[in-house]
Amino acid sequence: MADNATILATLQSRFTSGIERSDIYRDDASVTIAPEQLLDVARFARQEASLSFDLLLDVTAVDYLGQQARFEVVHHLYSTKHHHRLRLKTRVLEKEPIVDSVVPVWVGANWLERETFDMYGVRFRGHPDLRRIYMYEEFQGHPLRKDYPKERRQPLIGPGSPQGNYQPAIPEIPGLTHVEGLLGAELMRVQLGPSHPATHGTVRILLDLDGETIVNADVQVGYLHRGFEKECESGFYYQAIPYTDRLNYSSAILCNVGYCMAVEKLFGAEVPPRCQFIRVIGGEIARIADHLLCVGATALELNAFTPFLYALQARELIWDLVNAMCGARVTSNFVRIGGVSADLPAGFADQCRAAFKRLLELVEDTEGLLLENPIFRARMEGVGVMSAERLIEYGVTGPLLRAAGVDLDLRRAQPYLVYDQLDFDVPLGTQGDNMDRFLVRLAEMRQSVRIVEQCLKMIPDGPIDIDDPALRFPGKGRVYGRMEELINQFKLVTEGQKPPPGEVYVGTESANGEIGYFLVSDGTGKPYKCRARTPSFSNTQPLAELVRGRLLADMVPTFDMINMIGGECDR
């Protein structure tokens, strides 16, 4: 691992001109580069051995309305070898918002750049397939631009109109040879979704079939796009927390934690230890819920109904825990900027232990019904294999990548909260097929149980909230009877927490991989930019390649193991 200063120095010594600015703010290294240098810098960052930024986490833009170089295209990089990060920024002009595409360097940039184009209207030179991704083709304008009013209504496409039957030619994935069908006959176009019983999550997959072989696939996401970023940018920092619940709704607390950590990083604040433990407990419980759903639903979609019920029964136990902790099963809205909404309820540790005992039995039964089952195994083993390098190139993180044997778990690689005090294993797969993905998730659940049990033993007494009235609402008991605190409450509610101007990125390990929040503060109570880098989006991207040349039936287990969560993928 190279420290930030070394990374920047390496870049500077290689690119003497071209680097317009480089700085380290709150431990984030970032460089601003001239647009014509972007591709060179990207190649260098990826290839140079001491940097080896092989994972492109995110591409997005920030709209600085009113400035001549209006759009700042932002790339977030990660090195799976050295576990360090870098932010590349490029300013492009309002008149001519064009920048080089980095698809030749990281194939995963494809969707990310499409999204940036869709949302900001920034074009990418050399992109193989620059079309909208969330919005429909007839959509007018680019919704995340600052001059696009939130209330604007757009003409929707009716069922009868020709656009309602949008059928693009399926583009080739760069760098792949064409799949030859066995029959060599005319291809058949099949639509899987947007609402298909064998896919949980609303997604439309256009398939060109040659007999039963998938020759080509186009995955169309965006059916659940709700304008997460626009909504966050129009509210205060604290008002966005319930919206983060709705990113990954099967493990909402993990999304809460990442967001609040990002805002705290903007402030340069750290929450007290008890709060960190509570966040870890909540997060790991949520992770179990997420994996249970993934495991159960996979079984269901491969026609095994009983294991699904066992998994959901286990998840009920988890929901009870979450409910007791935050007052809701799914939409937890648990974490606060500078704390958590409430301390653990009385008797929570015992409730947890009892729930886990039963939960582990149920997981065992689920497993017992599936792992010996020849049908299940036939559909999972050896299916959906992709090399670790290719997965990284696609920006895949989380259990999917670990199943391919890559040791990348942010809890271990860049420990945050109190993970460095805990004892747990990171399960890795050996073959990278669907079975490994399934097994990794099962093993991770057990590790999460282990983590929570440790936390419950280790959790210290003490405050659960940061002692800083600029961040955290004062305790209600004091608001009711004291003047200064009453005023604090008023100011915080009406103007929001106001972090100093700056930008930060915080990546945490959510159930499906790295969930990262990129926040830009302009010093007001509302985020100037609130970007969520969500694992489901990047994880869904390789689907088309994973199923090419395979049978149609392989589509379902592969899609299930990707575990696309609509809210997270479509934001």
Partner: protein
């Protein structure tokens, strides 16, 4: 000009200036309660203390003249400590009223406590009890507990209105603000005290418990009630005006406005307003579509001019319309060819502070746009006479001011005789009862345009609330009439019309919205008022 250094920044200050305004003008925020740009220095709140090199103690910036070479620091621990101390003292006895206080959200006590205070209450003693909700005037309420005794209001009544209603009574920690015995706060400018009160002690009855200030959206505009043209900010929310506040313009209204003007916004949201054009086909007025009403008006005007000559048509303009609209109306008038055009203007009492006798915002503009009788044309009184004599067949009246200025008998006589009465107004009135056609008008708050005040200062107004049902503005009505009367394709877009004015009206040469700006544009002296 002395050079001073504030927080390491060199600043050139005007001679004899006090430190506080110099700092504020240069973007150094020094908190202050009692100081106000338009009032004398009081120096009582001690919030503005700063450190000056060479001075053993902290000094108050509002009462320290700048000196050459002065080195000032506003952020040192000593200063911060002093501010914390002041805030704590102010809050010790302050009631826990924020949830029910109209000021919350724009309260300096809240702002400074959050920014400079300790944010932790240390005292537990009971708070001082004083009189709350005291009615101290027809439009004002006082809450003595909330008052921080900055005396801004006292100085306002002494120095600006010279009425001296308010004073601070008792001594030490028993002092409190009150009105003088038997002398309610009833002057014409009383609500200004609520604006300058840094806390929620003085509240306007009109805005009392109406709305939270953080919901309000703000649009800069100009007061419509007299020809002084006080600069104001319209505070609106959910397409409704909730209050109006003065906007500082040293060339017009300093920081004040009169109570009458401030409260004169209710008509905008009034439910009884005219919304649809009406036409009298039989005995009763009937609601019709815009095209039909305007078609009828255009036909009547054209036919009358053709058969009875242009002198059989009279137009009485309204000084409440914008320059742009009046300019379009002028085009309609000259297209008809009539010389009978005048403006009905209510003239009342003025005073020597702000209130002017001409009770309309754009009286001067109406004269400048030529809406007054030219040689051979009839003025309002003469038009009414002519109508009563049957010589005027069509009378097109804008607004209802004519009802207030004309001799009632002459007016009734005229209206009975005139062949066709066209009335364009915001409300029903005795005029509309007699009208053949009624066209609804928009109010100033729904339009964008310019007003010219009595001193010849052109100032902008902006649409604050959206008109209902896309009701057209008066300017649009005139443009559509022009189209119907057969003269090309006219549109109404205030910026474009102002450009037309700039080239057509000599006194307004070179004017544009950019030049008018936020503080207005003074017409050259030579332009002179036509009155």
């Amino acid at each position: 000009m002395p050079k001073i250094t504030i927080d390491g920044r060199e600043i050139e200050a005007p001679a004899n200036a006090m430190l506080l305004p110099v700092a504020l003008e240069n973007g150094v925020h020094v908190p202050h309660y009692c100081w106000h740009a338009k009032l004398s220095v009081d120096g009582s709140c001690r919030m503005c203390q700063v450190e000056i090199e060479g001075s053993p103690k902290l000094v108050i910036a509002c009462n320290t003249p700048v000196r050459e070479g002065m080195v000032v620091r506003t952020q040192t621990p000593a200063v911060q400590n002093a501010r914390r101390g002041v805030m704590e003292l102010l809050l010790v006895n302050h009631p826990l009223d924020c949830p029910i206080c109209d000021k919350a959200g724009e309260c300096l006590l809240q702002d400074y406590s959050y920014a400079f205070g300790s944010r932790q209450t240390r005292t537990k003693e009971p708070r001082r009890k004083l009189q709350k909700r005291k009615e101290i005037g027809p439009r004002m309420i006082l809450d003595q507990e909330r008052c921080i005794l900055c005396r801004r209001c006292v100085r306002f009544c002494r120095e600006i209105t010279h009425t001296n209603e308010l004073g601070v009574f008792n001594m030490g920690d028993r002092s409190m603000l009150d009105v003088m015995e038997g002398q309610p706060l009833a002057n014409d400018y009383s609500i200004n005290t609520a604006d300058i009160c840094p806390v929620g002690a003085l509240e306007s009855k009109d805005f009392h418990h109406k709305l939270r200030v953080w919901f309000l959206k703000k649009t800069p505009s100009v007061c419509p009630s007299c020809s002084n043209g006080c600069n104001i900010t319209v505070h609106h929310y959910r397409d409704r005006i909730w209050r109006m506040m003065p906007r500082r313009n040293d060339a017009v209204n300093e920081s004040w406005m009169c109570d009458h003007g401030r409260l004169n916004y209710q008509q905008v949201g009034d439910e009884t307003r005219l919304r649809q054009p009406q036409l009298r086909r039989t005995a009763k007025l009937q609601t019709v579509a815009w095209d039909e009403a305007l078609g009828y008006v255009a036909r009547t005007l054209r036919d009358t001019v053709r058969t009875h000559g242009a002198e059989s048509v009279g137009v009485i303009a309204s000084p409440h319309l914008t320059n742009e609209e009046l300019f379009r109306l002028g085009q309609v008038v000259s297209l008809l060819g009539t010389k009978n055009v005048d403006t009905a203007l209510v003239v009342g009492q003025g005073d020597n502070l702000l209130i002017k006798p001409e009770k309309a915002a754009n009286a001067r503009g109406a004269r400048d746009m030529g809406l007054r009788p030219t040689a051979g044309g009839l003025n309002v009184a003469a038009m009414l006479e002519a109508a009563a004599a049957g010589k005027l067949r069509v009378l097109y009246i804008l607004g209802s001011d004519v009802w207030k200025v004309a001799d009632p008998q002459a007016l009734c006589g005229a209206l009975e005789k005139v062949g066709c009465l066209i009335v364009q107004d915001v409300f029903d009135s005795p005029l509309t009862e007699r009208a053949q056609v009624v066209l609804p008008s928009l109010t100033w708050a729904e339009k964008t345009g310019t007003f010219t005040n009595v001193k010849g200062r052109v100032q902008q107004i902006h649409r604050a609330v959206a008109p209902r049902d896309e009701q057209p503005s008066d300017g649009e009505i005139f443009s559509r009439l022009l189209n119907q009367l057969g003269e090309g394709q006219w549109h109404f877009e205030a910026t474009a019309v102002l450009e037309e004015i700039a080239s057509a009206v000599p006194a307004y040469a070179g004017i544009s919205f950019a030049r008018v700006g936020a503080q207005g544009f003074a017409l050259p002296e030579s332009a002179g008022d036509a009155a």
